[in-house]
Symmetry: C2
Subunit: 363 residues, 2 copies
Amino acid sequence: MKKITIKDIARIAGVSLATVSRALNNLPRISPATKEKILRIASRNGYSPNPLARGLSKGKTNNIGLVLIDITNPFYSPIIQAIERKVEEEGCNLLVTNTEHSLTKEEKYINSLLENRVSGLIISPIQNPQRYLELLKKRKIPAVFLCPPSEVKCDCVDVDNIKGAYDAVNHLIRLGHKRIAYISRGLRHRHPACQRFLGYRNALRDNNLPFSDELVVETITGQGKIEEGYQAAFKLLSNGGNPTAIFTFNDLIAIGCMRALKEKGIRVPEDIAVVGFDDIGFAQFLDVPLTTVKIPEYEMGDIAATLLFERINGERKANNYKRICLIPELVIRKSCGSRFIHDLIPDFASHRKTTESQAIKHR
Amino acid sequence: MKKITIKDIARIAGVSLATVSRALNNLPRISPATKEKILRIASRNGYSPNPLARGLSKGKTNNIGLVLIDITNPFYSPIIQAIERKVEEEGCNLLVTNTEHSLTKEEKYINSLLENRVSGLIISPIQNPQRYLELLKKRKIPAVFLCPPSEVKCDCVDVDNIKGAYDAVNHLIRLGHKRIAYISRGLRHRHPACQRFLGYRNALRDNNLPFSDELVVETITGQGKIEEGYQAAFKLLSNGGNPTAIFTFNDLIAIGCMRALKEKGIRVPEDIAVVGFDDIGFAQFLDVPLTTVKIPEYEMGDIAATLLFERINGERKANNYKRICLIPELVIRKSCGSRFIHDLIPDFASHRKTTESQAIKHR
DNA sequence: TTGAAAGCGCTAACAG
DNA sequence: CTGTTAGCGCTTTCAA
């Protein structure tokens, strides 16, 4: 039993291929009568178009590519979910790839997706998106970047990392901390670790606290995973900076870090306070509930997908790029030892809210 | 600047399309000399085949479809990672879809993937795979099912849920518990909640403990998320069964459950012990580190992908189905109040080990 | 309003 | 060994 094609339908309806195609694609030059007739025949015979054939002749498919750095980081979970939902709403499919911090994989996947004629791309890039911009333009494939490692002229949704870090460190300072460490993800001058580093330094500066190199640790592989934080914490403790608080690049690193501290018999927050970044879903359920800088992840994915479809549907002029910058928010829990412990029951459904974006548009 | 096609290559090389195709596809009837020449021209011109055209004419693509129930459940993270890696090794792309426990979405996605001529499918199904078997056979698309909700004649990788549950409950009994509750995910007779329920009952029976209906709670939506566990716990506590221990369908439910207990001022494990299922990555880092039944997730994904490619590459006879059943293992941590608290530093790299499968093959 | 016909880029008989 | 040719299923001019 072979699948039915437009040819079959044409035969049954006694019309030409072109007419069937017009009916199926809602194209103008066709009489309502024949259109209805064809549509009826199509649905009665369970016709569904072959996406490959359509893609080949149109040079474009209904697939959207998603390129992620680390699909296992729960930070991306709500992002994927949001994107997936939007993509589905638009009648498209989602192709998810995972680069695992590998540049070669990143390039390979982007190329592969382009070859597969995706009609759009959402990329959480490792390297400067600039690298891909020309290619994308040449192929006329719209793309939205998530937290790109540098400012470029493209559609992207980002987070105000400087503010987030600043708020976190500032909070620690208010609590009386003077020797605050920063565990970077990879080199401190690599974006976005760099921006968070900046926020960290600014907060120190504004409070007249000295900056000390011993208090900054850069993780080796830069993958931002739990084990990295674990190792980094040991390194930090052996540096002799005697931190009383640690601000980490992300929650996973914070988790690893707290594990190391625990193992060393150092109490959190009594001996050392810890603040993370992201507010992944588990942050509130941890051994020591984590104070962290919340990124509205679901919203981030939702906005990215929206921006992408705006472009795909041609609702925006070619050079009218949008850079949406989301404002992160400090969520105070136990790990920083504040008197104000808000370890409340989470608003479980919060990430589903379709509230108006708190986003602000930069420039 | 248009992309180069085999036509161009044929022209440049002064040969026919067929010859180019033969060179590019490593087909036999071609002389080494022309083959090399063509390959050189191709690579010098940065040629890469159009997957859509190829897919159209072959009726098959290099894409593999993955159908998940809940992409946000960290249980799937290592599974996705394993599959993704294998798929990449085989030079294929992965199409990930997320059904979010919706039957319509499940059907829709499977159909859509088939229409897109994926060359294989890995499905974590909501409903009985039987439903899809005929369709898959007709289309000749191999598929591997993850934890299918019933035994069917197909390739699948599963977990010995009965044993896992039995071990968990048995352990609680050994610790002296007599009133042990079970929080099911959805109806207790729905697979795999049913199997875990069975293990639970068997353990009670073997230890001459009475079964009490008040001690079983079925969650409403059956999505197995944190909030469900949270609500279920309240329901359980109001049932009057006075449990001293709770065995939950999965870790997320356990987390929600522990949150509810905490809110009620009930201590874990002193007042009530809790045991989960899955051993998601975060289980060990929780407020109260979770005793749970570990499923070797990475291995599960790895095996699934291996089985799939065995089929795709025709390495197995049509009716030689494999059902790999992984053996879960109880991981004892603090939440069950054992004297033997193994809250050790995790073997961070453990899931990457490519150790020989501990799997056993059933029938 | 409809149809004929030429592709989209590649594969796969079938001849030579 | 190599070339010719006919598709794969659909879109899209261009005529009618």
